[in-house]
Symmetry: C2
Subunit: 516 residues, 2 copies
């Protein structure tokens, strides 16, 4: 038997598997067919389809938030990548690893400007830390090794490898061995000592946690520091992965609305940032400052998002001789009754979130009080839409369920945002994933109606035509059923809680339309 | 009463209305709120929401194909634009006018890198002919006038105006008067005479029509030229807007599959291009050439896509002393029966397309014979996915219905592509648009299964998991109903025809799931 030589695509697949990668979320096209054939021939990667590329990239984001390992996305050339950019953007701001493999026209064909040709490199660069176009099959394996090393750069990076179809189909592929990832920058003891001096000598100090500082272990040091010094402790407004619930530290978030944040932070004189940035407005507003903390406050970094929050906080606690304390045990609430409100949703979640659940929160306007109240729940992990590009929730929940192997994923999902990547429901059904989706169905872009209010008036009919999602109302039970996901509708908190508890009994996805 | 000074957004809206623009397809966000408020205060633009940006831009494409006038799209900053790029790409390849207004962070806020910030200019440039960021409110009106002039450059261009929120809300806006569009380049009589010499003196000449050459009037000259010279006449493989049906010229398209096209064009010795490009592969394939016409064939442009096809073909007919002929009257077929096939669908459409209907064709694998057969229908206009980015059909049909004021729009829609921009159904319901959608439900990415075959083997289970859309099957009746569109399912040609004829009686949208 003569052995066929390895082509570029095959060398790439072998390299991916050799690096320990496990999952490829995919929506391929013609230019990726040789790569698909290589995936077919070489077992080792679980390939999961998404029916639109922003679903594919959002699933990879969710997968990485849970596993801390890169998933592969397989995307079609040009516009295929464009379709997936919004959730790549969210993933970049979530500081997760992700490896995008994007097809491209054959190297000799692109210069004729075929219909699908576009500036793939420019699109990729807009949301990637690392971008490379493979020029020939012999380079595909090495490029993948470089890309994976980039994804594993602390705290996680986006690498986009562009693969022309001839670099995929030509023979001469070479498998590349894993490269040692660049080590994370060490914590800087000068910063630790600076923070120690502030916490010892100053009043009105805010310790602001973000990134990996919101994992369970670092929080314990933060709790000790707070108990010892009396500092304020907050989390950033939007967080990638926050471990919370019973036994963990209740942490208030910096509020999203500009004026609310400014008022709340008025007394702060010193901010110590831990994998975080000093509070900045999501948007600018006329007459309000860009930053939401007092202009005279000092900002001192304890560590950057690339550094190890646990080590930095441990060192700080040590310098301060702060000792670990037991977390206050909070009474788990009973299931509340009646019409849903943000606060009511929080109490309800406090009652029904099961242990080790993962929450994908794209609740938008209903989120603030819901978040605070739900801390009383069993220990769970909480994800948010880090880059502000709506349509992250459903795919992120889907990818998280792929990574979590059995934990329940709960997607608290605003209806307007849900419609952006509604196709994710089909992948949940196809892969039989344990996702419970709660559609917070208020039939409007409520956040924009509030933002319109900031402009100084009530929306008139022209504006409301763009901000209202009624007329016709979406029927979420039908939409979910149409994609193979069981669903039910309710308009009360107790109804929602009951459906949630029921859904946990099945390993399959379930959707609840909760009328607000 | 003291008058408030005009802000940038208001000057922009006045400028748009002053230029005769009529429709704004929109999915705004916070950074666009002052522009939304200006639309509210200043009547004159019809604002139509889309539930995802690729729906918004696809609607603008369909609107422009029918009206030949630019629609405005209002898109959210950064990732909002990214979401809409695929259909902007299709619109660019369709040579239609389109004005994208994209919000942006306030000029002074962007440098702090807020979560939604990205390289909006690079994203815009990937698919626009003209891009400008307004720096201050006084420039907004003038920039809009420049942008609209760009959109009206023959045959139609994409202009993207990036509007930072402070340039929108600050006072000092100035309304700008319309600028005279750059005239289309005149036809070149030397090219006309060159083409004349070839058509008179050479054999095996192919007259290849594209762009505006496929409108009804230019076709009459092409028919005369063909009758006089015996040349072959074809249309490009993919066309933006083709007027066809009874009384018009039956024109074969260059086939999409590479080998089929190469075989069909084997005997061609001379190609005269009319607003078209000599046949080029959509993709490259191992062992096949990039171009699908014989390498020795000469290629002579009669006119470019920017030039007036009617004038060029009239001049050519004149030089050749070719006189107009009556189009052959084709018998309209009866409604066929039985299970659908590509040919059967063509006959069915021949029987049931109503006069002046507009067809949005995203039928993919079922399209080739369907197209040929449907020429026997009443006169109608036919649109295709020009840039190869799937997910154009539903939004394009929606926008076409907005522009066409009453003509029936028929969307022949592959199921895989439909899922890309399925949210368009809701806008059809909201705006009560006369769109009949036929979902060609084969529950697979059939074109990719065929392309996989070109790789040399049958797809195995890993590949099929990415190419098969069953398990679970989409239920299109439920999905449509869930977004407020009435729907029915059928599995026969006669059943589909009957539902189509029924749907014409109502001015509202209707969806037919046709099981293939």
């Amino acid at each position: 038997m003569t052995q066929r030589k390895m082509n570029g695509a095959e060398s790439l697949v072998h390299t991916l598997i050799g690096h320990g990668l496990k999952v490829c979320f995919a929506n391929p096209g013609t230019s990726e067919m040789h790569f698909v054939a290589a995936l077919d021939r070489i077992p080792g990667l679980r390939c999961i389809p998404g029916l639109q590329e922003n679903v594919v990239t959002g699933m990879a984001d969710g997968y990485a938030r849970v596993s801390r390992e890169p998933a592969i996305t397989l995307l079609h050339c040009g516009p295929g990548l464009a379709n997936g950019l919004a959730n790549i953007h969210n993933a970049k701001k979530a500081h997760v690893p992700m490896l995008n493999i994007v097809g491209e026209q054959a190297t000799y064909h692109a210069r004729f400007d075929p219909p699908l040709a576009t500036n793939t490199v420019a699109l990729a660069k807009s949301s990637s830390h690392w971008v490379k176009t493979v020029q020939k099959s012999a380079d595909a394996g090495k490029a993948a090794a470089d890309a994976i090393r980039a994804t594993r750069t602390s705290p996680g990076q986006i690498a986009t490898l562009i693969l022309p179809s001839d670099a995929s189909w030509n023979e001469g592929g070479k498998v590349a061995a894993p490269l040692k990832p660049k080590p994370a920058p060490k914590i800087d003891m000068r910063n630790v000592r600076k923070a120690t001096r502030i916490l010892r000598g100053k009043r009105n100090v805010l310790l602001l946690l973000g990134g990996s500082a919101l994992m369970a272990e670092p929080q314990k040091h933060a709790a000790a520091i707070q108990a010892k010094t009396g500092c304020r402790l907050m989390a950033e407004s939007i967080n990638s992965y926050h471990q919370r619930g019973q036994g963990r530290l209740p942490i208030e978030r910096v509020p999203y609305p500009a004026q609310v944040a400014i008022d709340l932070l008025k007394g702060v004189e010193h901010i110590i940032t831990v994998c975080s940035r000093a509070p900045l407005g999501f948007f600018a507003y006329p007459g309000l400052p860009s930053h939401h903390y007092p202009p005279k406050a000092t900002v001192t970094p304890l560590c950057s998002v690339e550094q190890d929050a646990e080590k930095a906080l441990a060192a700080l606690a040590d310098e301060l001789s702060a000792v670990r304390i037991e977390a206050q045990v909070v009474q788990r609430p009973s299931i509340p009754k009646g019409r849903p409100s943000s606060a009511g949703l929080g109490v309800m979640l406090g009652a029904v979130i099961p242990e080790s659940a993962i929450i994908a929160d794209e609740s938008i306007t209903l989120g603030a009080e819901m978040y605070a109240g739900s801390h009383a729940a069993a220990p769970h992990d909480w994800m948010m839409v880090t880059g502000g590009a709506i349509g992250y929730g459903m795919p992120c929940a889907t990818g998280a369920a792929v990574a979590s192997t059995g934990c329940r994923v709960i997607n608290m999902q605003a209806d307007g945002s849900a419609m952006y990547t509604v196709q994710a429901l089909w992948t949940q059904a196809r892969e039989r994933l344990p996702v419970t989706t709660i559609i917070l169905s208020n039939r409007k872009y409520q956040i924009l109606i509030a933002e319109y209010g900031n402009v100084g008036a009530n929306p008139g009919p022209t504006a409301m035509n763009m901000l209202d999602l009624g007329n016709p109302d979406m029927d979420w039970v039908k939409i979910a059923n149409g994609m193979g996901v069981e669903a039910a509708k309710t308009s009360t908190l107790e109804g929602c809680a009951e459906l949630m508890l029921q859904s946990y009994k099945s390993p399959h996805p379930f959707l609840i339309e909760l009328e607000i």
